[in-house]
């Protein structure tokens, strides 16, 4: 059981009702790493993957507390799955990890989220910068319909500044390969991003996220809107991706979680209107075969949810 109730540093870092999204436009090439704490990534084969540390995180929508008091350590180059019944706050928690939660009206948090030792909610941190380091893939494939496949992949890169055409070409191929989409689209890169099938669109969205060179990738039920074949392809791609990135995935698919993740967090809500909590967290093997709490067992065996 990884939960550590005796943490010392549970000072809330204040509310974040005002997203300071426009600040520090100059500092965003996103390539330099935060100083220190390199030791934590020891053993990681990917140069960029980073660990994350969540400390006493509470998430709110206005006055409503959706997630309470989560502590979690997310290891680099691993896939961490977040499971649990609907409405238990796992998506909200995920969105708090790259400051997307505050984009929702009334969304704010208390607590700390450290990316490689640095609090991403510290007052001097630019959420724009945070999101370049912690990318996100959404539940519904959302490529930009007015852009070509090529332009979709480089959309985030173009935000950061100009690149040479040849450089962009290489990045597009590289990222589409990593997302296991290259072979299917290499001959129609100038087709519209929404001309693809749902599964291809989702892999395009993954490629688009990779192109920004994030350190951590959050996936919010990335395969729930897809057929089993497309879902498999995304799972396969994830196994390759974890060599270079740290992955956190919210999923409703128990098989997917048990097959593909290294760590699993079970979120649970005790009663309607109560905030969701991280009920149990540990190695996937252990959560699925020998969970410590009854509700976890009920959920992973299909008796609940």
């Amino acid at each position: 059981m990884e939960r550590n109730k005796t943490r010392a540093d549970n000072q809330p870092s204040g509310s974040h009702e005002d997203p300071r999204l426009e600040s520090q436009p100059g500092n965003r090439d996103g390539q330099q790493k935060p100083a220190g704490a390199q030791g934590q990534t020891s053993g990681a084969s990917g140069a960029q993957a980073q660990s994350m540390e969540v400390q006493g995180l509470n998430c709110f929508y206005g006055g409503f507390k959706a997630v309470t008091d989560v502590d979690m350590t997310i290891r680099p180059n691993k896939i961490t799955a977040l499971i649990g019944p609907s409405g238990c706050g796992k998506s909200t928690f995920l969105r708090a990890l790259n400051r997307m939660h505050e984009v929702t009206r009334g969304g704010r948090i208390e607590g700390k989220v450290l990316l490689d030792g640095e609090d991403i909610y510290a007052p001097n941190v630019d959420p724009v910068q945070v999101r370049r380091k912690i990318g996100m893939v959404f539940q519904k494939p959302n490529p930009f319909p007015t852009m070509t496949i090529y332009d979709n992949v480089v959309a985030g890169l173009k935000l950061a500044g100009s690149h040479k055409k040849s450089e962009l070409d290489d990045i597009v191929e590289d990222k589409l390969r990593q997302a296991a989409l290259w072979d299917e689209v290499k001959d129609k890169l100038s087709a519209g991003g929404t001309d693809l099938s749902g599964g291809q669109q989702q892999r395009l969205c993954i490629a688009r996220t990779l192109a920004v060179e994030p350190e951590v990738i959050l996936l919010d039920e990335p395969a729930s809107a897809l057929d089993p074949m497309s879902s498999m392809k995304i799972e396969d791609a994830m196994q390759d991706l974890k060599k270079r990135y740290t992955l956190i995935i919210v999923t409703h698919n128990m098989q997917q979680a048990s097959r593909s993740s290294d760590y699993t967090g079970f979120f649970y809500i005790e009663a309607m209107g109560e905030p969701g909590q991280l009920w149990e967290f540990g190695e996937t093997e252990q959560i699925f075969s020998n969970p410590e709490r009854q509700q976890t067992e009920d959920y992973v065996t299909g008796k609940m949810g």
Partner: protein, 324 residues
């Protein structure tokens, strides 16, 4: 036995009710058809009369009517170019000014303003669109024109007077003032439709761009605006159509000078205003047909603009991934 009886009774009741329902259906259908067709008939009648009554003028002047600058009822010479010029210039100035401002208002309401502000201001914007145009005209002539003369003209003329279209002395009742009133009149149209179009952009599109590390402005300019482009162009076209057809306010303000103007500070006339200002004394074999020909032309222009506008708006605001 009892079961059978009740089953039979039940069936007869159903049959009876069905028949009664059918009568209602027939009446409903006949009435609906009648009203629907009557509207179609009305529209066709208007178009037909517009064209039919205009025939004498077209027979006399031909296409020359659209190039000629002479509008001389006494001599029986009619040319619509000054009116066409007035309509196009005022409508385009109005759209050029109201477009950016209206889209800006919509962007503020949808992307930035708190929900309560959006609701209140959004309501006001739609209210503004419902003010009768004659009220705008009164306001233009008694408030805006003196204001422009007193406070704007002193610095505007030195600033832009050297430009070809801004030369000459400033007049309160002028093409310029009329264009400004039109701007204010179509502003609610642009803002209200743009607001709806921007709202229809799925939240996922915004989040996709933000998650790539965009600022709010980059999100708006690169994800929201391209998605909403068709609808916003439609809003602008609809506004252009309204500006081109607007009659009362312009008739009051523009000065009704039936000649080509070289500066927006001169007085002018539009197709709508020339009809409104002259129909009472339109006697003579060609005077009235000429007004009808102007009207028919205006109808064709605004009709075309409106059709294009509505097609664009429809294609966007109920797009394949519409809804939030």
């Amino acid at each position: 036995m009892l079961n059978m009886l009740s089953a039979m009774l039940g069936r007869t009741t159903i049959v009876k009710e069905a028949r009664r329902g059918n009568v209602g259906d027939i009446i409903y259908r006949v009435l609906a058809y009648a009203f629907g067709l009557s509207f179609l008939f009305l529209t066709l009648w208007i178009i037909f009369e517009l064209a039919y009554q205009a025939i004498p003028a077209f027979q006399e002047f031909g296409f020359e009517f659209f190039w000629s600058t002479t509008w001389d009822p006494v001599a029986g010479q009619f040319g619509a170019l000054p009116a066409i010029q007035g309509t196009l210039v005022t409508a385009f100035i109005a759209m050029a000014l109201a477009g950016p401002i209206g889209i800006g208002i919509a962007a503020f309401l949808v992307e930035i303003a708190p929900r309560r502000v959006d609701r209140v201001v959004g309501f006001l914007v739609e209210m503004l669109a419902a003010i009768p145009s004659v009220v705008y005209g009164l306001w233009g002539i008694f408030v805006l024109a003196p204001f422009l003369r007193t406070y704007v003209e002193p610095w505007l003329i030195p600033a832009v007077g050297w430009l070809p279209f801004f030369s000459g002395p400033f007049r309160g009742y002028s093409v310029f003032t009329a264009s400004l009133v039109l701007t204010i009149m179509i502003l609610p149209t642009v803002a209200a439709i743009s607001r709806n179009v921007l709202r229809a952009v799925p939240m996922e599109q915004r989040e996709a761009m933000l998650a790539l590390g965009s600022t709010r402005w980059e999100m708006f300019s690169q994800a929201v605006l391209p998605y909403a482009k068709g609808g916003i162009i439609g809003a602008l076209a609809l506004a252009l159509g309204r500006a081109a057809g607007e009659t009362m306010a312009v008739t009051i303000i523009i000065g009704n000078a039936r000649r080509i103007f070289e500066s927006v500070f001169e007085q002018g006339v539009t197709m709508a205003s020339i009809i409104a200002a002259n129909f009472t004394d339109a006697s003579g074999a060609l005077y009235r047909p000429s007004l009808f020909l102007v009207g028919f032309t205006l109808f064709l222009i605004t009709f075309t603009i409106n059709v294009i506008a509505r097609l664009l708006i429809k294609a966007t605001s109920s797009g394949p991934e519409g809804g939030v």
